[in-house]
Amino acid sequence: MARTAAIEVTEGNPVKALQEFFRTLLERGKIEALLVARHLPVRNAVMPTLVTDPQQLAGADPLAPVFPINAAKVVSRLTRKPFEGRVAVVLRPCEIRAFIELVKLKQGRREQLIIIGMDCLGAYGNVDYLRFAAAAGDGSSATLDFIRNALEGRGTAFEDFDITTACKACEHFVAESADLSFELLGATLGEGLPLQANTPLGEALLGELGLASTREPAGRKEAVLDLLAQRTAYRDRMFAETAAATSDLDKLMSYLGHCVNCYNCRVACPVCYCRECVFTTDVFDHEPAQFLRWARKKGALKMPTDTVFYHLTRLAHMSTACVGCGQCSNACPNHVPVMELFRTIAAGTQRAFDYEAGRSVEEEPPLSTFREKEFFEVTGGKD
């Protein structure tokens, strides 16, 4: 039975409670540093920040409804090689799942980390968040408004926008793989914020800190199931609409028609694992004469070339690792619904290999392994 502790919440402000908990971890020497989303001195900018001085935790705000980047990428850099001591990282569930994929690809190590997660209520797109925060006055008030609205049933929509499509379609909003996770759903904040240990490491830490055990809040199960039902229904509608919008090459081309080959989606993607992407190598520095030959073949050649080719190749390379965080769409300057396409195809490729990205470090990535006897249908039933 997983152990749950209650963290005291004062003035109905769960962000302050989180900051206090992080301060305890640092001051009692449980960790060397903490990586956490934090308000920067720059107006309304929230970015992952590596904090060592407890005084600097004042702006820490992992519940801010924005994540400008998927922090799995910075955790991957942080854990590339062994270092002194232990670091806690506070991540959203999709960031944890992306990091698990990177660990399996040997681009990150879990050994010296304490992963702290939370129930994720979703996030606004980067640009939308700026408007949301500006309307609330400052970043901290914006976070509190958002959490109260979401938890008290008023929803997350604001003016003409809502949390991202990726978040609305996300069924993995509980941080199951974290060592410790803050359980916002179903909690009565006046009675404390439940902190659950999901791993032996997390349980040991709760013990060391001498936090009193508590029961899971009575309304939690129902709150989780409700949100899950909403999210899955939205996701399945999105799958059906996207599949219909891309069901042949004509439709796919019109779907991707505004892509300018900037490759922002690939840069923002936490699981696009190649150190150097083939699409920026000289493989694609075609000879001028080659462009002319291609143009002559059909009479016209759209430039830059290889737009559909790029997206299909990326689908083949990383869709089995796609965690659906939506940073691809967040980074797209031309509002191409990249996440919708990638999640829709990823659902199929992951099902084909009976795999779920980010579920477990034990599951081998489908294209890093093989069996002698499998998939006979590929070669027409012959082995």
């Binding site: 299909l312 093989f370 998939f375």
Partner: protein, 140 residues
């Protein structure tokens, strides 16, 4: 207009299917001339993007053919290739590419007759399917 003549790109393994193709040729087996062969050192080095590129450039079908399981010169490249083709067969049909336009076979070095027959069957099948959608239009 004459009958539709498909263009088929075949990625074949140097150690088995390429040798089988050679054998089919030197044995004077009759085969339709629709296949453009690309000799690879192993089907395990056929990156999915080669297949995608061929189909987007207007190839009517792609054949990937390597050694029988257990016979791979590099021990298991063919088994890795099988997973990649499995992946492509999951992705490409979602965008309207008929699954039959991507074929994978195991043809050993001594199986020239098998090779010729595979080519004859594939060409007939693709003729029946008609031209690939990318052949007709400018692909962006």
């Amino acid at each position: 207009m004459g009958e539709f003549e498909p263009t088929i790109i075949a990625f074949v393994c140097n150690w088995c299917t390429y040798t089988a193709a050679d054998l089919a040729g030197t044995s004077r087996l009759i085969q339709p001339p629709n296949v453009r062969m690309i000799r690879m050192m192993c089907t395990g080095m056929v990156d999915p993007k080669y297949v995608i590129k061929a189909l987007l450039e207007g190839a009517d079908a792609v054949l990937v053919s390597g050694c029988h399981p257990g016979d791979c010169h590099y021990i298991n490249g063919n088994l890795k290739a099988r997973r990649r083709i499995k992946l492509l067969k999951e992705i490409l049909p979602k965008f309207g590419f008929d699954e039959r336009r991507l074929k994978m076979t195991w043809i050993g070095a001594s199986e020239g007759i098998d090779f010729a027959e595979t080519i004859r069957e594939l060409v007939a099948e693709v003729k029946a399917l008609g031209p690939n959608q990318a052949r007709r239009q400018m692909v962006i």
